[in-house]
Symmetry: C2
Subunit: 206 residues, 2 copies
């Protein structure tokens, strides 16, 4: 249970369980949760067994306990530290979004080339000049980075991140990053997502 | 060539071709482009044939002409209109990002419940109160929407979008939207992406 897809599924189950909890559900049957997640019930049960959830599935899963099991599997109980590279509009919006949702990943450092954005605290995150990136990342053992620099700067920034110990990158820059095999990159390309939505919307209207 | 995956691949090829153009390349061989995209050369050639590109693959694809062919296939030459629902930090950052990248999709209307954000123009986009959504969407035949409202408001907003003719939604709210089958939804869940990156970063460091 270490593939990218499996981890994505667990993350989705947890989100769906949160929704169920918000709607007041106490228990949920495996086939119900599977349907919400768009997977087979067999697949779901295998995933849930792998995280070590001990409930009795014939009673349905306990909505709160199963969230805890998944969280225990996915997250470091001590929390993780992350950084933001590129404190522009998008970067700042992401900081605000994460701060509101308070995930276990805390973004403790931001980096930017613009002196107006550095040496200050933005959305609870201290921002430093780009040149201090390697020093700060090493000092705090930061392993996760959000990359929101312009396309032309992304590879250079990724090289510094990797050299400084980062092993997980969420990349918003519309470029294909070249990184070593043990570095995980999740690409979020908003333009591509919009292109897809526009294409299928047009086809549906034809 | 109408599956979601196929359209995503075309969108990716085009982005990679833009990168090649920026780096000064005039031509690219199918196996090179396939490698950059992470697909087989046979898959790539099938995709390219389907968009009607007429170049001779033994010479390599012409980087500019192939972009044009893909654009012709993916986009309406007259451009598309889109809207933004939720003009908060994230919504405004997306507007700024799209305006800078000038895609063929023009975001011509924003909607928000907050009177401070409506009846004004933000990043070239006129913002209206939520109650005017259906009227404005119908008036401009808007078929694409970016959804950046809080989770608790997302389904309600999606219902209005669908009722008003929207058939493609890029959803940033961390909820599973219930929409009719002919409505395309692309979910961008930044928390989930970060969770994945944090998980693999930790595993790589172990």
């Amino acid at each position: 249970l270490k593939s990218e897809k499996a981890i994505g599924r667990l993350s989705l189950y947890r989100r769906l369980l949160q929704e169920q909890e918000r709607h007041g559900a106490k228990n949920i049957y495996s086939h119900e949760l599977a349907k919400l997640a768009g997977v087979t019930a067999a697949q779901l049960r295998r995933d849930i067994m792998a995280v070590g959830y001990l409930g009795r599935p014939n009673m349905g899963y306990n909505v709160i306990e199963l969230q805890k099991s998944i969280t225990h599997f996915l997250e470091d109980p001590q929390g993780d530290y992350g950084c933001l590279v590129g404190v522009g509009n998008l970067g700042r919006a992401i900081l605000a979004y994460l701060l509101r949702r308070r995930p276990s990943l805390q973004i403790i450092a931001g980096f930017d080339v613009d002196p107006q954005k550095t040496n200050r605290v933005i959305q609870n995150c201290r921002c430093y000049p780009m040149e201090q990136m390697e020093k700060i990342l090493r000092k705090h053992s930061i392993r996760v980075a959000i990359l929101t620099v312009p396309a032309s700067e992304a590879q250079k920034a990724a090289d510094v991140l990797v050299r400084s110990g980062v092993r997980g990158i969420v990349n918003f820059a519309p470029v294909t990053l070249r990184v070593p095999e043990d570095v995980f990159v999740e690409n979020i390309d908003m333009s591509m997502s919009l292109e897809k939505a526009a294409y299928f919307a047009r086809k549906a209207a034809e």
